[in-house]
Symmetry: C2
Subunit: 253 residues, 2 copies
Amino acid sequence: VGNYVLTVQYEGTRYNGWQRQGNTENTIQGKLERILERMTGRPVEVHGAGRTDAGVHSLGQTANVHLDTRISPEEIRDYLNRYLPGDIGVLQVALAQPRFHARLWAGEKHYRYRILTGPVPDVFNARYQWRHEGALDVKNMQAAAVLLTGTHDFLGYSSLKKTKKSTVRTIRTIEIRTEGAELLLDFYGDGFLYHMVRILVGTLVEVGEGTRAPEAVAMPLETLDRTLAGPLAPAQGLTLQAVRYSGPILLEK
Amino acid sequence: VGNYVLTVQYEGTRYNGWQRQGNTENTIQGKLERILERMTGRPVEVHGAGRTDAGVHSLGQTANVHLDTRISPEEIRDYLNRYLPGDIGVLQVALAQPRFHARLWAGEKHYRYRILTGPVPDVFNARYQWRHEGALDVKNMQAAAVLLTGTHDFLGYSSLKKTKKSTVRTIRTIEIRTEGAELLLDFYGDGFLYHMVRILVGTLVEVGEGTRAPEAVAMPLETLDRTLAGPLAPAQGLTLQAVRYSGPILLEK
């Protein structure tokens, strides 16, 4: 039995997110597992690094799965791509170290949120953007973003109910910049709570619109009160860009 | 009353093509007309340069429309983009010469067909590609393409029934090249019959697969017999890239 690492891309528009949930079959994890079960004739469980929400996309989701098979990693990749729908693709399959776990070993995740500003739509990217009418003050957004970086309890920036698990996370940096007609918000951190990136975006957009002072993004961090943060930005603007691991993960040959 | 020229982009996946047809409301032309009729309070007719089929995309469809309005071209553009769905966008609106007609004045049209070769899907471009498994002999396809350029009766390369209208068209050039994981086929010509580009692609792919000799692409030109040409390639791979006009079309100020 080998432990395989997969790099998975998807256009999340049609799916109920990454994670298989009870009877909800329309998930990325569920699609992968069903094909791998047909391939091996046994039940399998695919572990993804990030549980992306319904409608969220991925350029570099990383997952691992234990498979009892003799075919090569390239053949596993080709088998998956043959049966997956066109909006899910497996870029790479490789043999990983036996104890590698895509989520538990993940060092840093990079999420990007794309906002289309300006009056002209971008029809070929509309599924990957939030279209926002009206100007945004990028400098104020950048100033606010600095206050959100570092190690904080982000419960107030999540849709979680109070939980016994830790809601402390570290955001290494938030980069905000204009590229063409888009405003790009790049989040790099060790982990993100349920809805956290999208609520951070919704709050930063309030700063950009001028309805919230940059300093006021600290309130939800201090009070842990969700109602003091901004609205949840739409899922379609969000993409999991990459997952980084600090040590080697591939099996040495 | 001004005559306006529009540059229109669309992702054609959801639509029954450009042209409004009787009760078929789900067309690009129909969407534009309905919004402009609401804007002006009068019936309008939008003339497109190319009648793209259901599922075909556009980067540079050009259209003209006579409108009785006092608002500026930029305001017309913004009004359209405010009410159009996200997969249709108007890049530009400008005042054209009174007799300008987008289709009748069109000098050359550029269509691109995108084929994804190779084993790994490209999920963010899947809607704009035909995914073709297996290698294609690009040199043979290029040799065949030369035989298709020039002025010919393309009835055998169309889905038209016999017609009194001329089915003679001129293809100036067909460029075929690999770009990344894609094979791009660019067609430049004065006009294209119903399904013509897609049947040319289906036939060229037979040459690439080795099931048709390059010389055999001439048969449908000589016999006008549709059954001697290859299959119709899927609509989703096709994009109207640009429409060119030989003279000036904008109203001088």
